[in-house]
Symmetry: C2
């Protein structure tokens, strides 16, 4: 490892080389008017030769703008929107700092994390499905820096971009009902998670509307293995059911495994609907009927909104709502087998 950093050229180095003042160089670099054509040429030449580029830290110090955003990811919400967010941040000219936050429930832990990078960043993107912090609390934690919450409660009065979980779940239940299912079970996600909560509540209200048994519900934690365990518990209840609505695809995958072990076929014996449409969903056996969330669009909207909050003070506080879409594959089928269970 060459242990000496290569010394970067500064504004003054360029100025010396071009035989002008550093201010003139600054004007050229920042494309300000009132620079003679030949002067500009000489300066640009020097910039090229010295491979000059402005020192970001110095710019931050003087302007207060860093063109760095921070993505704070809370447990469980991992992974999915990240690639899209990285992509779009770059697209909008921002660098992304990514922070994982295990203990999302401790306000002090959040505060400590945000403090570390506080003066370095222009805004925050919080993937925070735990609706335990009010707008005011978040604003205080973010110390007045703009922020956008990704995936929080529908109707939360804060800058946010969300999927309408109700819409997705409604489609899924109606799909099952249209196929003739009336004994529909649910494997929900962790109910302190607002997505899981919204999906669960919608399922309950749909259950009421269609006269389904709303007690046929167990909770997992969104991980594959919890879906496996939840399906086992569901089977152990001794209640008959012909379809299962699962809180996300990973748990659905675990549930498929549990049904397989129990000698139950999907979709012949049980129809299964997932949520998310993760990459592998289409290649499970059987390919999973699920609710697709377009994370790329979520990512783009989130970054775009945050950037406009940063760059234009008139940007209003709003919630941008995206609508998921039911993708019907082969894990659901019209009811023709007898119910399993007792």
């Amino acid at each position: 490892m060459p242990d000496s950093q290569i010394k970067q050229a500064t504004l003054r180095d360029v100025a010396d080389m071009a035989g002008v003042s550093y201010q003139t160089v600054w004007r050229v670099v920042n494309e300000h008017p009132h620079v003679a054509v030949d002067t500009r040429e000489r300066v640009l030449q020097a910039v090229r030769v010295l491979d000059y580029r402005p020192h970001r830290a110095a710019q931050v110090l003087t302007t207060g703008r860093s063109y760095i955003l921070q993505l704070v990811i809370f447990e469980y919400a991992y992974g999915d929107p990240l690639p899209a967010i990285l992509h779009w941040a770059r697209e909008f000219g921002y660098t992304m700092v990514v922070t994982e936050l295990k203990d999302a429930t401790s306000t002090e832990a959040v505060r400590a994390t945000l403090r570390e990078t506080a003066q370095m960043i222009d805004g925050l993107l919080m993937v925070m499905p735990y609706p335990h912090l009010s707008y005011e609390a978040l604003a205080e934690l973010c110390q007045g820096r703009p922020f956008v919450v990704v995936n929080t409660e529908l109707g939360a009065k804060m800058p946010s971009v969300v999927f309408d979980q109700r819409h997705g779940t409604r489609q899924a239940v109606e799909h099952l009902v249209a196929l003739g299912h009336r004994l529909i079970a649910e494997i929900s996600g962790p109910l302190d998670n607002c997505d899981a909560q919204a999906r669960h509540e919608t399922w309950m209200s749909m259950a009421e509307r269609y006269g389904l048994d709303a007690r046929l519900s167990v909770a997992g934690d969104f991980e594959t293995c919890s879906g496996y365990g939840a399906a086992k518990r569901l089977l152990g209840l001794g209640q008959p059911f012909t379809a299962v609505l699962v809180g996300n695809d990973l748990m659905a995958l675990g549930a498929l495994r549990a049904f397989d072990e129990a000698g139950l076929r999907v979709p012949e014996d049980i129809s299964v609907v997932g949520y998310d449409d993760v990459d592998v969903a289409a290649y499970l056996s059987p390919p999973l009927t699920t609710v697709r969330q377009e994370f790329d669009i979520l990512g783009r909207e989130s970054v775009e909104y945050l950037v406009s909050l940063i760059e234009d003070a008139r940007t209003p506080i709003q919630q941008r709502v995206l609508y998921p879409e039911l993708i019907v594959r082969q894990s659901t089928r019209s009811l023709n087998a007898s119910p399993v269970g007792v």
Copy 2:
């Protein structure tokens, strides 16, 4: 959105409040000796009241140290080591900037990306399974900043942390051979990827050792759907085989689907071995025999090594090699069915 950032207290604000010079405050904050006990107390009191914290950008400007690392992720290598790297970076007191790089083959694109953050970061972690850049080329691109390459060729003479793909593949093939398989096919990853390449080469040399047919090999691109397609192609070859070695778990999942559609049972008709041991592997039907790579350890070693390169100039250039482990589940079984194919 409150549009005025909350003005941060500076060293001077604290100094004024405590009635000392900014230098004294600096000494207290940076825990230097030679400060009278009562002075220190007054200063700390003021620090607390004003919620002072040093301005990172100013520190970067004066010290040249930012305590920010950059993670550069090239296509395909997505996802897996990221959580561990984020976790350990934080653990070591560093903030992580994450950059995705689509076009890894263009040196100019890499250079442009690295330029953006060049003066802001202390070192780079490159998850770069394309061994197209020499140590010298990388050092030049990184402009003398320390870097560690995660997951490159075994034996590459550069600061790096890698899994021994040969070891993993050897275990997998020997497992199949021990079960009696001699007609073993391969679905490899994309061969410009050094992991895929190493696994493929090892498979070929193992094929030679055990007298297997090394032509029974098709390539995918590590994505689920390509595993599905590759398995179809394999079946279309008309050559009998009793086991498949797959380049990663996602493709194995796709292959399982293809076999299912072709009416072939796993493991009764075909044994399948994956690679990676992703979370869902244990819950597929059947649970997948695979080679586990401990990404958490990879992440920790990478960050730890990079940090020591940054903080201790005497740290030698080395390659840290980790060994993957075969996890036997139910997708492989002793040969007792007749070969499929023609």
